[in-house]
């Protein structure tokens, strides 16, 4: 930990956040939020929280930017100027400052960074997770096993977000297909971009699957892996011909992946109950050669796969809904000669 590097990164972080709030151009704000995600990821790296770094880099600096840009294309690029703030609204700052002071005060009770034997539950997790779950990555053991209820809740939050997007943007069959005026999907006009993306997509997708399966041993797991899979899918939609992306990623794939992922997680929770255990208490599934620790190890993998499916499906569904990818009736006309030369 280099304290002046941390301080510098933190200053840049705050500066980007303030600039993103103050700019009138929403696309600029999206770009600044990408920078914010990247700097936050660097800060997490300097705290050696690589799992969080990974999530922030894939989601904060990656997928979120694409989703926000498609949302801006759907709505408006300029924010309406805010009128003079009323005298009353200024007083809202007082409880906010109080809350900030409270949060800062509670951080004094946190164990030091890198403390291997902190008091309370954290110390127990660090001490016993390898014996309990055969999982060297403590973060994965906590997320998918000890705190399985929390992770289930987080997964369901993402499912609800995707469902809400579908409900808000849905069109009845009799309504004309509302496709944003500027569209980002479809074949990219540049052959360089098309060829490079076509060759990158399988590698990115393979990497996403690797990250989902490798969460036991390294940073990663279902959330990041699902997001990286979604990056591959979105890159394909952004650059490949419509008929290709529709064949690889059919209309129903997103929602089906969400439902399958959530059901896999719920099933993993209910299975121990069938063996007279508690919800999400994988240890009771042990039988014969499979020791309780091994059962927990295997169930963590199943849970990660469920989370990965749900996150991938949610990202793809939100992207599909915002771009209206499947509602587009015709592919845009081929680039004219002048454009093709660019």
């Amino acid at each position: 930990m280099i304290w002046w590097l941390d301080l510098m990164l933190f200053a840049v972080l705050v500066a980007t956040a303030v600039l993103a709030l103050r700019t009138r151009d929403l696309l600029t704000a999206v770009g600044l939020m990408g920078v914010f995600g990247l700097v936050a990821a660097l800060l997490f790296t300097s705290m050696q929280a690589l799992d969080v770094t990974f999530v922030e880099a894939a989601l904060g600096a990656g997928v979120t930017g694409v989703l926000l840009i498609t949302a801006v294309l759907h709505t408006t690029r300029r924010t309406t100027p805010v009128g003079r703030r009323s005298r009353l609204s200024r007083w809202f700052i007082v409880p906010l400052i109080g809350l900030l002071a409270l949060v800062l005060y509670t951080t004094t009770g946190l164990p030091d960074r890198g403390d291997t034997a902190p008091p309370g539950a954290a110390g127990v997790y660090i001490e016993r997770s390898l014996a309990d779950t055969q999982t060297p990555n403590v973060v994965t053991a906590i997320l998918a096993d000890y705190r399985g209820h929390d992770t289930l809740g987080e997964t369901l939050v993402i499912v609800v977000a995707a469902a809400a997007t579908m409900l808000i943007l849905r069109r009845r069959p009799d309504e004309s297909a509302a496709v944003p005026a500027e569209t980002v999907v479809g074949p990219h006009g540049s052959e360089v971009v098309r060829v490079v993306s076509a060759h990158l997509v399988p590698f990115v997708a393979t990497y996403g699957l690797y990250v989902i399966a490798h969460g036991h041993y390294g940073p990663g797991g279902g959330f990041v892996g699902g997001a990286i899979l979604a990056v591959a899918a979105i890159l394909l939609c952004l650059t490949a011909r419509d008929d290709i992306s529709r064949r690889v990623l059919p209309r129903r794939l997103g929602p089906v992946a969400i439902a399958a992922g959530a059901l896999v997680y719920l099933a993993a929770g209910i299975a121990p109950m069938a063996a007279d255990g508690n919800f999400l208490d994988y240890g009771v599934l042990a039988s014969g050669d499979v020791l309780p620790a091994r059962a927990r190890y295997l169930m963590i993998l199943i849970v990660e796969i469920g989370v990965g499916l749900a996150v991938f499906g949610a990202m793809l569904t939100i992207f599909d809904q915002l771009t209206g990818r499947h509602r587009r009736t015709s592919t845009p006309t081929a680039p004219t000669e002048g454009e093709a030369a660019l």
């Binding site: 540049s190 990158l200 660019l342």
Partner: protein
């Protein structure tokens, strides 16, 4: 080996700084992208080679560094190409000598 590694990393950092100066000082999106894409790709390659040359770096780390370099070597120019192409299509005009003369006159008057 450490000396060679240090020289390579410092050389890489020099190109990063050059890219940043170009981004701040050059007049339009095309020349800025030109400076950043080229100098940054070279700088990253030099830093990665420098890290790979460090004593104690094992084979599997070298493989990862090579893969990082390959991704950057493909991704950086492609991204720069896509950005400048989008700028051109959005109507951005390249900076010319005429613009330079006009800026100079406005600056002096």
């Amino acid at each position: 080996m450490t000396g060679l590694s240090n020289v390579l990393v410092v050389a890489g950092v020099f190109f990063f700084v050059a890219a940043t100066v170009g981004l701040l000082r050059l007049p339009d999106v095309f020349s800025r992208s030109h400076a950043v894409a080229k100098a940054e790709t070279l700088g990253l390659a030099l830093v990665l080679i420098g890290l790979a040359a460090r004593p104690g770096v094992t084979g599997d780390v070298v493989v990862r560094l090579v893969m990082l370099g390959a991704i950057a070597l493909i991704g950086n120019p492609t991204a720069a190409h896509a950005i400048t192409r989008a700028a051109r299509r959005a109507g951005e005009q390249p900076w010319t000598l005429d613009d330079g003369h006009r800026d100079q006159q406005e600056g002096s008057s």
